[in-house]
Symmetry: C2
Subunit: 454 residues, 2 copies
């Protein structure tokens, strides 16, 4: 997967064909991909039971398992309690082929997942000297001595397969418990996610001989609603079995994911390629990447390839365009800067927008947006400049210029100016975010036209 799952919005998309309802685990599953294997997920941590933490590990693991055709019928969370973890593991191992545990592998006395799993398997914890050496070296590198607590991270249930953790001190492990395999992974997502993809899932795939390869491609879009995407690809969505199509929304963007299964990765990839090409043709100009890259990454790459530089002038986005562009390392190669002219005086003084222009058309107008872009291009000496002005709300709207009205302007190298008038939905933060994404999308389109046009 080229994107990280964070807080995805609910996706109330229904499959209209009631037949698909009968496939386990439910309406969204894809019969073509079922492995006949099932797993349960147990996330461990008292903070989960106190509501202090949203559990993003469960959906990340579930999505990864679904990708691999492994069914999940139940997930649970328990606290840092040895007896209750053991109970949950025992029950899950009696129902499923695999039990994925996340959390409770740290160095503190709270972290009792390894003890609980050893209890269920009826084996002792043994110290792994190689891991202990690695840990000692790690602490020596920090100029510290390893504490007795940290030594606990070198203990594993007898017979466990150790799963290395390149991003932290707590290795994971896999252990047979009855007919099930129990896999324990550390809780922090930046440790768990790579281990899940690089160690745990390959282990399950090889053990269960899931020889068929599964490949996913991500089509990222911006500036288009989910319902418009539905409209454009509905027939493909309905008929797609292998490769299958999923539509996800997040923070003003809609992502279309294509997953194919075949005997080899190459075959799976070429299965996907055909459908991806069809979808890209349908979705048109709202597609900004098909390799998982984010919009700021894609814009940056295109600017760099073309040897172009970018400047921005921002009003209602307040700096968000610049913040998005500079979220990418190395943005200084192509980003000159942004002038956040929140008040009209700043628009006049820093962006050279003529006061009569503001008086005549208002600060939220195509004319002022264009003048802001020209001003930023001149002040920051960039080859392209983009400007955003609008009414983010919640107040300040009028009948003529309601909340959500945003103008985005782009001035190119030859001073040609493109202005878009947008009416953006959502609360203040979503209007601001959508406006900033629209600005980046306009930059990308202009930059790409240059590429094809010469």
């Amino acid at each position: 997967m080229g994107f990280r799952l964070s807080c995805w919005s609910p996706r109330p998309r229904m499959q209209a064909d009631p037949k698909s309802q009968s496939h386990s685990p439910g309406a969204g599953s894809d019969p073509a991909r079922a492995s006949g294997r099932s797993a349960e997920i147990i996330t461990i941590g008292t903070e989960l039971l106190l509501g202090q933490l949203v559990d993003t590990n469960t959906p990340a693991i579930a999505a990864e398992l679904a990708e691999n055709g492994i069914d999940v019928y139940r997930t649970c969370s328990v606290g840092d309690n040895r007896v209750r973890i053991a109970e949950a593991v025992r029950e899950a191992a009696s129902r499923a082929d695999a039990v994925m545990c996340a959390g409770g592998l740290g160095p503190t006395v709270d972290d009792v997942t390894r003890d609980a799993i050893a209890d269920v398997a009826g084996v002792a914890l043994l110290r792994d000297e190689r891991v202990a050496d690695d840990l000692r070296r790690y602490f020596a590198g920090l100029g510290r001595t390893m504490s007795a607590n940290n030594e606990r991270q070198a203990l594993f249930p007898a017979g466990a397969i150790i799963l290395e953790n390149p991003h932290g001190t707590a290795p994971g492990f896999a252990l047979d418990v009855g007919s099930a395999i129990v896999i324990a992974l550390p809780g922090p997502p930046r440790e768990l996610l790579p281990m899940l993809r690089e160690k745990a899932v390959p282990l399950l795939r090889s053990r269960w001989n899931l020889a068929a390869a599964i490949v996913s491609r991500i089509i990222r879009t911006a500036g288009v609603s989910e319902s418009e995407i539905d409209r454009r690809i509905d027939d493909l969505f309905r008929s797609a079995e292998n490769p299958s199509i999923a539509v996800l929304t997040h923070d003003g963007e809609v992502i279309v994911k294509v997953t194919g299964k075949a005997a080899t990765a190459e075959d799976a990839r070429s299965l996907c390629d055909g459908l991806v090409a069809q979808l890209v043709a349908r979705l048109g100009e709202c597609v900004y990447s098909t390799d998982g890259a984010s919009l700021p990454e894609t814009v940056g790459r295109c600017l760099r390839e073309r040897g172009l530089t970018l400047a921005a002038a921002e009003s209602c986005t307040g700096g968000l365009v610049g913040a998005l562009v500079t979220s990418v390392a190395g943005a200084s190669d192509y980003f000159r800067g942004s002038i956040v002219a929140y008040g009209n005086r700043a628009k006049t003084q820093l962006l050279d927008v003529a006061p009569p222009l503001i008086e005549r058309h208002g600060a939220v107008s195509a004319e002022v947006a264009a003048a802001m872009a020209e001003g930023a291009k001149a002040a920051l000496e960039a080859s392209l400049a983009v400007a955003v002005t609008g009414i983010a709300g919640p107040s300040g709207g009028t009948q003529d210029k309601p909340v959500g009205l945003v103008y985005v302007a782009l001035v190119g190298e030859d001073h040609t100016c493109t202005v878009q008038r947008l009416q953006l939905p959502g609360a203040r933060d979503m209007v601001q975010r959508r406006a900033a994404l629209a600005a980046l999308l306009l930059v990308l389109r202009t930059c790409r036209e240059k590429r094809t046009g010469g």
Copy 2:
């Protein structure tokens, strides 16, 4: 609670006292608040098992129960499957005093929570005529006839207490199952959350005679690490029983939550007040609000009260300072704008930073930060100006100036300049975020000094 729970970071806070392990549900629980009652949470929906949806209902319900001194030892998710829902409810009801179910009450054939709970209780589903009338009226109001499917929403297990849903068509219900009470709520958060607070929790409180009132206060801090907060308040944290203390981290901020329990809300509030005052005294200058307001809100309020205006000059934050300030509606009252001078030329041309100054000290230096702030103050004609320059990484650091080195400068009305040198931890996005928060915190401190100083 004055803040919205979103994706909180894991909180690896340790209690050094192993005795606390014995308190249920874990290290974070507060024995003074325990009601002696326990609950389990079951979220229902196949999309949860496919990883297509992050489950925010579980933490919302768990937090509400924790607030009310009700312990949660386990939570689980199951798909839209009558047998598996019934299994999960039966098991939970055998362990806990209450089982909170969320989801599966809609009108479609997928929605089988009511059937499953009736199965467990061994009762039939009966039609409630009042609810059926309400539903018919609702659909008539929309100019539609109620479908047979929608009539299912008027069915309840015999003996159930119906819980009205002011925000949707699916009422919830409560039903005794053995010694436990099972409460079923609809899945959409905007329906679930008010019903939870207004119907379900009051029902549990009255049934279990939990007469005492529970009040929470939030102390928000910035610019300080969790371990430093631990160091400063450790003794209070350990001794606090009622009111209790919880420490939460989120996006570079650390939040201290004080929860008190007493016979009346007023008494609970005054219990909290004393501890909040003690904590604020200990935590000192890193506290920015005690009423739940965010840092940009607090800064905005202070600037407005003092009649001050703000400008910013940003390098490594790329616009994030401006984006944070303008995330608050009405920021135009006090925010003039920000000059994002990402390259050195922009620093010179827009912020009037002398090139020899950059040559001598480098763009990431106290001298350049101060000059940037002066430049922004002059260009944007603001009473205060803040500047940020630093190395966000991941590359670009040197031994003298490593990744994470950030200078924050503030120039006041009288042109006095304060510069802070910070060494910020974390990846690029966290360095940028922490740098922007540090800039806002410096603005707040200066603004507050003005208030007390005259």
